[in-house]
Symmetry: C2
Subunit: 445 residues, 2 copies
């Protein structure tokens, strides 16, 4: 490693105490080995040097933004190299005329959004973890979030990338134009590739004009989760477009209120929370509330501020604190939401386990979290329920992961959704771009 040290100097950490703090992410993937070293990259060149070095020595490389991933995509490899992008956190340029921002991968998502707002723009991708996760991580996982129902997912907002390939070569994809059909869409191939095809070292992302006026927050209570699901299906199928449309079941609301008390009322079945924006935000919110009332809401109103949406962002830590730790990230077509909620309730009863559901409901994207004691048997029992919930989503023409990715944690589920041909094509692309299997080997595909 002395040759690498010679090139990277103090940007290469090898002391065990320093390395160990980079070995895990926010998932429940357990890392028991010991990584070789951490590269605190400050430039594309640092990343290129590190990958070329590892690639020529068959040393596996894990890539790490802020370590907020939930599927073990950033966990270290035993005797592997860790490339950390946290120092590459510059917003290089905001170009209001073209509504583009050029950023390094380590920029915190909310920081980019805030900087864009200073120019009358915003960055629509909005994962619940926006204040701690990085834009590079969002791109690597094609992250979702709260505003997807209105604006789509991260891949819809990436115009161009600079990527270091497994052998250290630097690839530029995409363009600064709105339309570009030159060759295969490599930009979108790298978005969501979970660090298995290359390391994103720079991105040109699209921004959107801030909507006119103030957002309007609304809420609706339902006695039954399935009724709330049916109401969401109607809202999404209507001409009224919310900016945010989130659903929490009663257990989730209770957990949030216990962990972060704000006076939130606990519904019997579920609480739907959303926002509308634009010139007709108030009118649109009223139209949505009418739909809610017509489809089973027991109470529904406009809120005085956005506290409910902020409370929704705390669901993950709140549920984890209450012992509901084992999670999934399934998606169903939005017309199947009621069926999905009914099915999850039946499965919870059959497994005799507590399940909390919180959903980016407008996208049909559910995070079910199962209570499990910290014992191998308890976790195994929770995993069995999660597996059943995942298979239920697939039986409703759904997906095993809407926004978190496959990583390690969901790797066993991959053949449930993809057939042999699809897996073979995925792997042939991996082999074409990383023939020695240097980058995040054995993960994602």
């Amino acid at each position: 490693m002395s040759d690498l040290k010679h090139q990277l100097k103090e940007r290469l950490l090898t002391a065990r105490s320093a390395v160990s703090s980079f070995e895990n992410d926010a998932s429940r993937a357990v890392f028991t080995g010991s990584a070789l070293a951490v590269v605190l990259a400050e430039s594309a060149s640092d990343v290129s040097v590190a990958l070329a070095w590892a690639n020529s020595r068959n040393i596996p490389v894990s890539i790490r933004g802020a370590g907020t991933g939930l599927v073990g995509g950033a966990t270290a490899f035993d005797s592997g190299l860790i490339v950390s992008l946290e120092r590459m956190n510059a917003i290089i340029e905001i170009s209001p005329g073209d509504r583009l921002a050029t950023v390094q991968p380590g920029v915190i998502t909310a920081d980019l959004d805030e900087e864009a707002q200073a120019h009358g723009l915003f960055f629509p991708p909005d994962p619940a973890s926006a204040r701690t996760c990085t834009v590079g991580g969002n791109i690597a996982t094609n992250a979702g979030g709260l505003r997807c129902v209105a604006h789509g997912v991260t891949s819809d907002w990436v115009a161009a990338l600079t990527v270091v390939l497994a052998d250290g070569r630097i690839l530029r994809t995409g363009a600064r134009t709105r339309k570009n059909v030159v060759g295969y869409d490599l930009t979108r191939l790298f978005v969501g590739s979970e660090g298995t095809l290359g390391v994103i070292v720079e991105a040109v992302v699209r921004l959107e004009s801030l909507p006119v006026g103030t957002p309007v927050t609304f809420w609706a209570e339902f006695d039954e989760l399935a009724a709330a699901g049916a109401a969401v299906t109607r809202i999404v199928g209507s001409q009224t477009k919310p900016e945010v449309l989130e659903l929490m079941d009663a257990l989730t609301v209770r957990a949030i209120e216990e962990a972060f008390p704000s006076g939130m009322r606990i519904p019997r079945g579920a609480l739907l929370v959303g926002q509308t924006v634009g010139r007709d935000a108030a009118e649109t919110a009223q139209a949505i509330l009418e739909l809610c009332r017509a489809h089973g809401a027991t109470a529904a109103a406009v809120a005085v501020d956005d506290a409910l949406v902020e409370a929704r962002r705390m669901s993950n830590p709140a549920l984890t604190a209450r012992g509901l730790k084992i999670a999934c990230d399934v998606g169903v077509p939005v017309s199947r939401l009621a069926q999905m909620f009914t099915g999850v309730a039946a499965l919870a009863e059959r497994h005799a386990l507590e399940v909390a559901s919180v959903a980016h409901a407008g996208d049909g994207n559910l995070h079910c979290k199962v209570a499990a004691p910290d014992t191998p048997a308890g976790i195994a029992a929770a995993d069995m329920l999660i597996d059943d919930i995942t298979r239920l989503a697939l039986s409703l023409e759904g997906t095993i992961t809407g926004e978190h990715g496959i990583g390690q944690v969901k790797h066993h589920e991959l053949p449930w959704q993809l057939d042999e041909v699809a897996i073979d094509v995925q792997r042939s692309i991996k082999l074409a771009l990383d023939p020695r299997g240097t980058l995040s080997p054995g993960r994602a595909v």
Copy 2:
């Protein structure tokens, strides 16, 4: 070929007179050879049989929808097989609850849009040729069109694909959910791959709710093309969102009025034509007209109907009829539009050739068409000007093709935009998926 005939029966055409009508597309790529046969596919299985047969014999395959392509992507190969998808033209399902449609590739784009409208929905991708081109062709080329400024390009509207691979295997990509991050985004890899990676035999496309109310059409005249470009930059950078924002220079307007007289007024410099939709369509149109007046429009008003937008759709045949045949499809960041128009005018003067510009202005996507006599020298002179216009777009951080694709016609331009690493990665993907080079060999990448 008797084994293939045995399997496909009357769906295999071999008579020279029948085959020859499938050998060309709408581009100026000249086909001088003779194809072996045409497969009039009626199912995925027909396509699979044909590709497996051709692949095992190293016979090149060209793929054809309606033959409206402008870059020679669907032209036959000498002694090659032609797979025609025109008979696979069923709209299999419209699912209003999920706003999805399942279609075969040969469905005419406008027919899908019309069928969707019967359900209160529409299909946003809207190439000027929507009444003659196919959805499969739109997907294969990642087609653009008039509504991209509001809704993005075709790839933003494709949820899932069924694709026959070069060796005849059938691949399913994507999902019916709004979010799906399982493996690499193969759906978007095939969108825009121009028939080089597989044959799309079924697609699940997204639909959008029809906007409330009636669209409002507006227009603005400018004495200078560059001023119109600058106005477009301002409009796109503002909070007012048009559904359509198209620009025609004086020569284009004159050509349309000559070929399809409708009483259109010929501007001195350029005519901007657009539409707004939604509850505040009239208000938004007025805000855009104000921006036009503030940035050099000499006249600007709301129109009584959408005749101007329909006239715009006729620009390609009208210019071709007037001898302006040699075209490009460049794009620039929208902030560079005025520079681009000024530069094109200077190049036209230097080359002493007549150039007409018509633009999906809101996307920064220009189609410049150059007058050329039908002589080799005349075409070569026009090509030199087109090359200079293309290099100008690249110098403004643009692209060599916004929506038509590379095909054969633009293949020599590929290294102008992509560097060696990018071309190498593109070709490694082609090699991974089609190692024998069966599908559209030598095209696109």
